[in-house]
Symmetry: D2
Amino acid sequence: MHIGLIGLGKMGASMRARLRENDVTVTGYDRNPDVSDVATLQDLIDALPSPKTVWVMVPSGAITKTVITEVSELLGTGDVVIDGGNSRFSDDFVHAALLAEKGIDYIDAGVSGGVWGQENGFALMVGGSAASVDRLMPVFDALRPTGPREESFVHAGEVGAGHYAKMVHNGIEYALMQAYAEGYELLAKRDDIIKNVPGTFKAWQRGSVVRSWLLELLVQALEEDPALTSIEGYVDDSGEGRWTIEEALANAVPVPAMSASIFARFESRQEDSPAMKAVAALRNQFGGHAVKSAE
Amino acid sequence: MHIGLIGLGKMGASMRARLRENDVTVTGYDRNPDVSDVATLQDLIDALPSPKTVWVMVPSGAITKTVITEVSELLGTGDVVIDGGNSRFSDDFVHAALLAEKGIDYIDAGVSGGVWGQENGFALMVGGSAASVDRLMPVFDALRPTGPREESFVHAGEVGAGHYAKMVHNGIEYALMQAYAEGYELLAKRDDIIKNVPGTFKAWQRGSVVRSWLLELLVQALEEDPALTSIEGYVDDSGEGRWTIEEALANAVPVPAMSASIFARFESRQEDSPAMKAVAALRNQFGGHAVKSAE
Amino acid sequence: MHIGLIGLGKMGASMRARLRENDVTVTGYDRNPDVSDVATLQDLIDALPSPKTVWVMVPSGAITKTVITEVSELLGTGDVVIDGGNSRFSDDFVHAALLAEKGIDYIDAGVSGGVWGQENGFALMVGGSAASVDRLMPVFDALRPTGPREESFVHAGEVGAGHYAKMVHNGIEYALMQAYAEGYELLAKRDDIIKNVPGTFKAWQRGSVVRSWLLELLVQALEEDPALTSIEGYVDDSGEGRWTIEEALANAVPVPAMSASIFARFESRQEDSPAMKAVAALRNQFGGHAVKSAE
Amino acid sequence: MHIGLIGLGKMGASMRARLRENDVTVTGYDRNPDVSDVATLQDLIDALPSPKTVWVMVPSGAITKTVITEVSELLGTGDVVIDGGNSRFSDDFVHAALLAEKGIDYIDAGVSGGVWGQENGFALMVGGSAASVDRLMPVFDALRPTGPREESFVHAGEVGAGHYAKMVHNGIEYALMQAYAEGYELLAKRDDIIKNVPGTFKAWQRGSVVRSWLLELLVQALEEDPALTSIEGYVDDSGEGRWTIEEALANAVPVPAMSASIFARFESRQEDSPAMKAVAALRNQFGGHAVKSAE
């Protein structure tokens, strides 16, 4: 199997490495010549055997759209494009239609695993035609961890299903992190009672109901910095979490834990909360409660 | 009508003033001799006609308990003690039993109105025996606003009902403030669209579905300081809000808006969030996402 | 002043009535000939003096778009169209651009007051050019309650500001209702303590911190049906609440109370919760906890 | 090592079995003679070598208190009592003091692992004196899973630390379950997109960021019943979740995801929501929105 891979950032580069370790031939292209295998997109396409397979691994939104449009002009009937980035599933319908005009098939692939994927393998959720998914199975098998295929790969449905599944995955991920984080604060707050916070988390790694990979990562972080003194409580969000809430709203699905998780991140990035200024102002008005003056 | 009033702080002093304006004779006692009408608690009791009525208006918890215990030793059968402070309703059962041993009746009164009560009147929720509530009606009528009695006074039930109702009132109050505060932040955030935030709130004072007294207070605050620049987003909580959530937990009542309101206050008081440190640490571990270093 | 009014449903009809009571001439058009003043849209336009003013009061989304498009073909330079429906503020930009092509000015007006507006007046938040807003002031003054103009009317900004303000107003409204509703459940749950739930709410109408128009409506509802036995706990949402959360997400504004309010409505409409099925299944798997069998 | 074990319910019985498999001698006592090894509590005590070790594994609250009181009368200086049940950590201080009067040492042990613990081992969090914890290490080692001790055992602090840690563990557990459950509902809702919900969860078991033991259990549940049609969305809570929120309130720790999880359970048990009746009534009052009549 020989595929083209566009986008050799953190994720793209480790995917290229893992694919090669597992005997998939990869020609990689990136705008950065230092990491690119070829000089131009045309070179990439020329290097591939037909039917050509191009895996796109670039930032979602405008950049993904541009790349897919460019690629669509270089490929033809029977070829296939896979979007493995974190695109919104609604973009998939647009991209699939664009490519279908030229007879190019489209697969959307949600990829989970982070920086550990190169070593451990990536979990894959894909959407698209059975024919293309079947043909690309050697690629998916090379990327995913060893073990039974169905424990790290799913053909979740037609176009869009892969990214929809990944979006939900990320919503869950946000809420899982929030769960451990609230627990961390509760343990750390009572240092008169709990004398060993990292050790308490560590003791949950085997046998406990809350054991998980995220727990292991938290233990690792706490072993490096037991009170997390070197880290500020400032947390970005990359968009998928918001999409999950938007989809929940569109479908009347209550997601109180997921939304709590994303609002906590918003708050973490505020120097001062306008809403809480308003509450402080109100308390001052009706109760004569003192307010803290901003300097 | 002639009653004793113990505790002449912000609330006690304005209640004394309003009672006197409405022809109730009040002998006030406070540990601070500058505001007290009499030198000692014994003097207060001696000044009252029988059956004696003592209204206690001191901080809830240990101080209220101490004062009620002291008073119980100076009063006797047929007298009545009213706790008008923000006591937890569960304390009422204890206090009522303590007083009942000496034949003293007990009334719990939830009082709402804040610093505006002296002028506007206070809303009253009371619990206890019909006999004592009826006998004290001139006091309640003097304290409450003009207008139909049932629009500012309720005999809500037996002992505990007054403070239970006040506790729920305060839980509602927290959530109402949070509602306006979230709206304020949404309006203020889009200053590219909304050019007049104070004016928008002000335009809701008549005719709109969200008109309320709290809205009027917010308008007042925004007229004094349109972007609330002088106020820090730091908000205390006085305990009743927490009790409301505890009661909700004890009775399996879902209170997501009330709990959101109190958690927002907790967050407002944190320099840095331990929970968000943990989330930042986790993202760093699995995704190589940069963390902000605490200096 | 003489304006045209398109859409004579519940809201449109009461606005027509209030305008006429306050000496604004109104020609109304509705697809339903029983309530319409004229037979066709063309008749409506023909009836108006120049510059012509057309107030659109139809369901937001596709219908509003269709009506505005039709109207744009019948009006010309110097005329003005007002969208007084519950449109999303982002639609305003589209509609304004569409009309601007023909020299027609556009005003967006958020209208609050519900079925009580005909009698009490409506609160108005408007966006658009100062020139048109000024020219239409007699219409706004006729619609709004008596009292100082700024307490029921705001020119909040350029096009979009009126509907943005109304959207936030409705987000607040959802959370206010949720606040009282949680309080209702807490009072009703402890009927061993609170013997008079309607009376407790009623006693908050004067003097209390939580007094509001919604509180008065709740008192009215409870006086008609003290335990709300005739009403099912099933609550629709009309869209604006969702938009508020979407805007909060887009602008990284935490809105935990507003989102709790909308999720509570979603839950109210579920026969059985798929999420809670999953939690029940999980508890059964790890703890052997019994599950309730669905019949 | 030879210990006494009081309480041979689901958890107690599997602990006895695991201890015996790992060469700890156990004399078990239960009020149910069918499962008890001895006829009376006195027999249990008599069977133990000195210093005597008694592990109590009975329902928390009144029953645990009664058992510990009874045991305190039969033991003496140098003996030790372990409470391995789900007691509130605040009870530990009372029990420790009670036993200390007779020179008996007290250890509190949080035990996680559910019905799978007998086979996999239990995760243990203990509080108490180092001397007793050290002496009892063979018991802890027999109960916990194989692997490094610190991955399934922690001596978290003095008396109370074990149950405090377990309480936080359960709060986390609630929120983790809620996270997966919200994800489940989002996947199941869009069956037009996601054609294989169980397969999607299964594909997260290896390589994904959200992999965990709870995920594996959910996969198992979905393999048995892919749409969970046989299970009602009705979820009990056993108390620890509530304590976690209460502790969060007492310590001003924001726990929005944990509280969302417990409120979701409360809602799952309501036939009809009183709060939502109130919201429906309000909407009907101000907007004339139709309500659903309860039959």
